[in-house]
């Protein structure tokens, strides 16, 4: 996996995206008596994208080979990256159940873990989350995802 040509894969993703959009654009009206319809622009754009993606794939094969190993982080860095992503996704999944403050504290705690001693970490997590809740929810009346108890 590491030695795979990332450029080719990226090009394939773009190609698939282009084809998907192209097919979808066919279901919209291309033109009417008055002029072009909603289908014209997307059709041409996705068509152009498909052509470009071919060029890009060819170039990735012939000229600029970039392997996955070069672009993805390794070892400790990749763990850090995964930690961030997991925390982000986890936040979204949990927050409607246990509310912003709880989830926020967990979120910050996970991200700060390993950087400070656990009690400082906890202090920062709780402090920042409550501060944010107060500023956004209390002061600025910005709606936040809360649980059934309102926080």
């Amino acid at each position: 996996m590491r030695s795979q040509n990332a450029g080719v894969w990226a090009g394939l993703v773009i190609l698939i995206f282009g084809v998907l959009m192209f097919v979808q654009s066919l279901s919209y009206q291309y033109s009417s008596k008055l002029g072009p319809g909603p289908g014209m622009f997307p059709l041409w754009l996705s068509g152009i994208l498909i052509v470009f993606s071919f060029f890009y794939i060819i170039r990735s094969i012939r000229k600029e080979r970039i392997t996955f190993a070069e672009i993805l982080p390794k070892g400790k860095d990749s763990k850090q990256l995964l930690k961030v992503l997991t925390a982000l996704v986890g936040f979204i999944l949990i927050v409607s159940f246990i509310g912003f403050i709880m989830t926020g504290i967990i979120f910050l705690f996970i991200l700060l873990s390993g950087e400070y001693r656990w009690y400082i970490n906890l202090l920062i997590s709780i402090g920042v989350t409550i501060l944010l809740f107060w500023v956004f929810h209390g002061l600025l009346s910005v709606p936040l995802p809360v649980n059934n108890f309102g926080f």
């Binding site: 959009m21 072009p36 930690k83 944010l132």
Partner: protein
């Protein structure tokens, strides 16, 4: 003079307590954003957009412009003190600025940078005052074909001047265009690309796309290598030596001219402005060997250029509705969000708003000068906040911002997905600027194209029938040809500074 009168009326609005406060808040936040390595003005402005939702349009734009400006000032501080550009355009300042700091002259470097930035920014805004309205009037003679031609030209200049690969830039631009088409088409009422999802019926919100592509992706990349911090040199004495004033002033003048001119061109960015200024200073200097070892002109010129650039970049935005760089595109998105469409109509219908914003920029510049000169040392300390503490904060604030757009966690998820997209785009060296620019302009591009074709009697030839659009399209095609040529000859890497992100 009409402009002057309107400017004075603008000051009336800008000098209310609330708007002054927002201006101050904006420039402070901007400086913080500029000072912190890892968070550029584009990402910072995008992340703070949601906060402005509840505000009056004038106040919101005043604050966001303040951030835009402040970031330019703030980036200088870290460049000089810890050799880390706080934002892309300050890269050049690192070269001589940090050397000056090492020689104990950090104060002089920061001082001349602040003064130069103030002069450059102020003159650019004054230029805006006088060039703006006539340009807007001229732009009123633009019909759909002219707008389409203009936008295509702007995009091609962006693609042609920036980035290492025209192909990648084009792909990025087309992706942005397609993304902008998701949602209900305003002309026909057809819901496009919604794939049955209710949340997609209105398309992606600009804030979500901007925050994800710029902010979140930046953090994902930063998560991989957390920066180390150096000791900050002390700051003594804020001003250059007496004999250096004259050369510095000349550099400042040159920098203003360069930055102003480049700001007017869509597609240039602040990095190019400071780069060109640095090269010019070196060329015009009596003793070029001093550059790289602490030549004060190497700080004065580029810093002035990048602030003059920021002021001038607002001219195409306000008069033609054409953003000349990603950060300005974010500002454009903000305008649209608050119900104001930049362009010639803006000067006509909402002139008091425009002048209030212009007036507040002048005020902002003054505020920044005051804050920079005495408080430089304080700002420098902020640069020392460890990134490991900073990025979780930025993330959670971003999520709050994304949620607040429509009370929807779906949006937060979408932002993260855009973040991952942005991450891969950056890794694969795809420029992000074209994507966000086309996303913002997408609907307008399509509607001007469709309207042109509808009124035209010979299809696409309408673009060549009308003189203005014919000129614009020809220039666009020229740029495409030139870019292809230079790509083949591989001379593009000199201009490859897609780093304002």
């Amino acid at each position: 003079m009409d402009s002057l009168l309107q400017l004075l009326q603008g000051f009336e609005t800008a000098l209310t307590w609330w708007n002054l406060l927002y201006c101050l808040l904006g420039v402070i936040v901007g400086m913080l954003v500029g000072v912190m390595p890892g968070l550029g003005p584009t990402a910072g402005t995008a992340i703070l957009l949601p906060i402005t939702f509840g505000m009056e349009p004038v106040s919101a734009i005043i604050m966001l412009s303040g951030i835009f400006y402040g970031a330019m000032y703030g980036g200088t501080i870290t460049s000089v003190l810890i050799n880390t550009p706080g934002e892309a355009a300050s890269v050049i300042t690192c070269i001589d600025g940090h050397q000056m700091a090492k020689q104990g002259r950090a104060g002089a470097a920061l001082g001349i940078a602040a003064i130069g930035s103030f002069i450059g920014g102020t003159i650019a805004i004054i230029g805006l005052t006088f060039i703006g309205p006539p340009l807007a009037k001229f732009a009123l003679s633009f019909g759909p074909p002219e707008f389409f031609a203009l936008m295509t030209l702007g995009l091609m200049m962006l693609l042609g001047l920036m980035g290492k690969s025209l192909l990648r830039g084009l792909i990025a631009a087309v992706i942005g265009l397609i993304l902008s088409l998701v949602g209900t088409d305003s002309v026909s009422g057809v819901a496009r690309f919604s794939f049955g999802q209710m949340e997609l019926m209105n398309g992606f919100d600009f804030v979500i796309v901007a925050m994800g592509l710029f902010g979140v992706s930046e953090i994902l990349i930063g998560a991989e290598n957390i920066a180390k911090s150096e000791k900050v040199p002390k700051i003594k004495g804020l001003f250059p030596k007496k004999d250096e004033w004259k050369t510095s002033m000349i550099s400042i003048t040159r920098g203003t001219a360069i930055g102003f001119f480049l700001g007017l061109i869509p597609g240039a960015n602040a990095v190019i402005a400071s780069l060109v200024s640095y090269s010019a200073e070196k060329k015009f200097s009596k003793d070029p060997s001093r550059f790289g070892k602490g030549a004060i002109e190497g700080v004065a010129g580029p810093e002035t250029a990048n602030n003059a650039y920021s002021g001038a970049a607002l001219i195409p935005l306000l008069t033609l509705g054409l953003p000349s760089s990603p950060t300005v595109a974010v500002l454009l998105g903000a305008f649209i969000m608050h119900g104001l469409t930049p362009g010639p109509a803006l000067f006509q219908n909402n002139s008091h708003f425009v002048w209030a914003v212009i007036a507040s920029m002048l005020i902002g510049n003054v505020l920044l000068l005051i804050m920079n000169l005495p408080l430089a040392g304080v700002w420098a300390k902020i640069a020392l906040i460890p990134y490991k503490l900073l990025f979780p904060l930025i993330l959670i604030i971003s999520m709050v911002g994304a949620y607040s757009v429509k009370n929807s966690l779906w949006d937060v998820g979408a932002m993260i997905i855009f973040g991952i997209l942005g991450y891969f785009m950056k890794k694969m060296d795809f420029p992000l600027a074209p994507t966000v620019l086309t996303f913002v302009l997408g609907k307008q591009i399509e509607s001007s194209l469709l309207r042109s074709l509808t009124i035209s009697e010979d299809g696409f030839l309408i673009f060549f029938d009308r003189p203005i659009s014919a000129i614009l399209i020809t220039v666009t095609l020229l740029i495409i040809v030139i870019s292809l040529f230079s790509e083949i000859k591989k001379k593009r890497s000199i201009l490859a500074h897609d780093v304002e992100i």
